[in-house]
């Protein structure tokens, strides 16, 4: 059964106990709320900003990012997002969008990548990264996830990501799989996609970066994973650390073929 219809059923049962009969179910109400927000996603503001930042000469070297290679050749942005994370020969690493942007900002613009990685989210050049991620992902909107798995390191990162996904730890014994290992589950009223397989178009990996209405911020996948680990009660994952990139490969490959709606709008 589709998770959504399942929730409708569950909630209809829950609400029908003593609630006025004419009242819509909570799930219908939430679905209606989400529909009302569809038109006018503030992520658009960040897309515009990101495009501008890509084309503006910045940093110690006063250069633009227009020669940045996101995997499809220098300067090619369209379609790049749905093929990341991937292997990059120049750095000899598997990189996700954010870690790749760090490389470009360092090599092309002369920024200190390690310094940016240490900066708090939404501050300084981290805000730049979030806006760039919004625009770059938007340039692949509607395309299907197609992460390459030809290189041995890409395959190895999938395997490492899978192990990280199921790794239990912390005071509450949570792993990523505790919430995202089964279809049709919720935390409170939030639907939880099953990220061990393709959860469908525009769900899970295919929805980030996203504008978070709760904080009014643009969140990259790196930030999403960071908050997952916070709520998992884990210690702090380094920005663009291998565990975050490996998880990206695992989730992205699992969702292969799903259409990207990033940057999406999220609670």
């Amino acid at each position: 059964m589709k998770p959504f219809s399942w929730i409708v059923t569950a909630l209809a049962l829950a609400v029908s106990v003593g609630a006025p009969a004419q009242q819509k179910s909570a799930a219908d109400g939430i679905a209606e709320y989400r529909r009302m927000l569809e038109d006018g996603n503030p992520a658009e503001l960040f897309e515009a900003k990101g495009e501008d930042l890509w084309k503006t000469a910045r940093g110690p070297k006063k250069a633009t990012l227009q020669r940045c290679d996101l995997g499809l050749g220098p300067g090619v942005v369209k379609g790049a997002w749905v093929q990341m994370p991937r292997w990059f020969a120049d750095t000899q690493r598997v990189q996700d969008l954010e870690s790749r942007l760090l490389t470009c900002m360092e090599t092309l613009q002369g920024f200190d990548a390690a310094e940016i990685a240490k900066t708090g989210f939404d501050k300084g050049e981290q805000a730049t990264l979030a806006a760039l991620a919004a625009w770059i992902s938007a340039e692949s909107r509607g395309q299907k996830l197609a992460l390459p798995q030809a290189h041995a390191e890409e395959k190895r990162f999938f395997e490492l990501g899978k192990r990280a996904f199921f790794f239990r730890g912390g005071p509450m014994d949570f792993s990523c799989a505790s919430c995202h290992g089964e279809a049709g589950k919720r935390i409170r009223l939030q639907d939880l996609p099953d990220l061990t397989k393709n959860p469908g178009d525009g769900i899970g990996f295919a929805a980030w970066p996203a504008y978070r209405v709760s904080s009014g911020e643009m969140w990259s996948m790196q930030r999403r994973l960071n908050d997952c680990y916070r709520q998992q009660r884990f210690p702090y994952p380094g920005f663009a650390s291998d565990v975050t990139i490996a998880l990206g490969v695992y989730m992205g490959v699992n969702a292969q073929g799903a259409k990207s709606i990033a940057p999406a709008l999220k609670r």
């Binding site: 990548a113 041995a152 790794f167 239990r168 009660r233 210690p235 291998d242």
Partner: protein
Amino acid sequence: MQRKHTLFALAALAAVATTGLVTGCASRPTPADLDAQALAMIKASFRDQGIAKVDRLNQDLGQAACSADKPPSDDVALRVEAEALASIRWPAGGQYIGDWREGEKLAQNGRGMTWTDSSAAPSANGAQCYNCHQIGKQEISFGTIGPSLYNYGKMRGVKDVADPDSAPIVQYTWGKLWNSKAYAACSNMPRFGHARLLDEQQLRHLMALLLDPKSPVNQ
């Protein structure tokens, strides 16, 4: 800048080299190799932040046994459950039941133990119950990772928590809250007592929420 970048690349190469995968070497890592590499990667990727220290990555038997896409073998699962059962501390003076009103507040509270929380003391923690369970029927914002606990005590025939007939379910419930792994090795539920997430008094309040016939859960 150039130097820094070179260092960066060298570090990356070194990381690859230590995992036995120097470019050009075609040998496939075995599953055991990958397990070791994943562990090393995880340890290298996290740092301390506030109360959330990297020692949270040190797994105990049960956490390690339940960290794959398949459940552990039966004998490992039994060992995990036996250890968990032995770890349960039964409440002082046989006092199992507190105030369901306090229990409801704890059940609603999803806070605690993250790197943005300032204290790891039980008094700073919620019990997070509604994140995963339906409990009182008036709260429509509940999760479904765990089973519904609505009518938990009533369905199990608890009419009086002090009645000796109720003792088995009362004790089971305490044990489940203290260390859920005693009854299912890979349970998704946190070990509230064992991991010192909640203290005895807080657990008593949750017991009351679930078992007290006067609790809204059992209406």
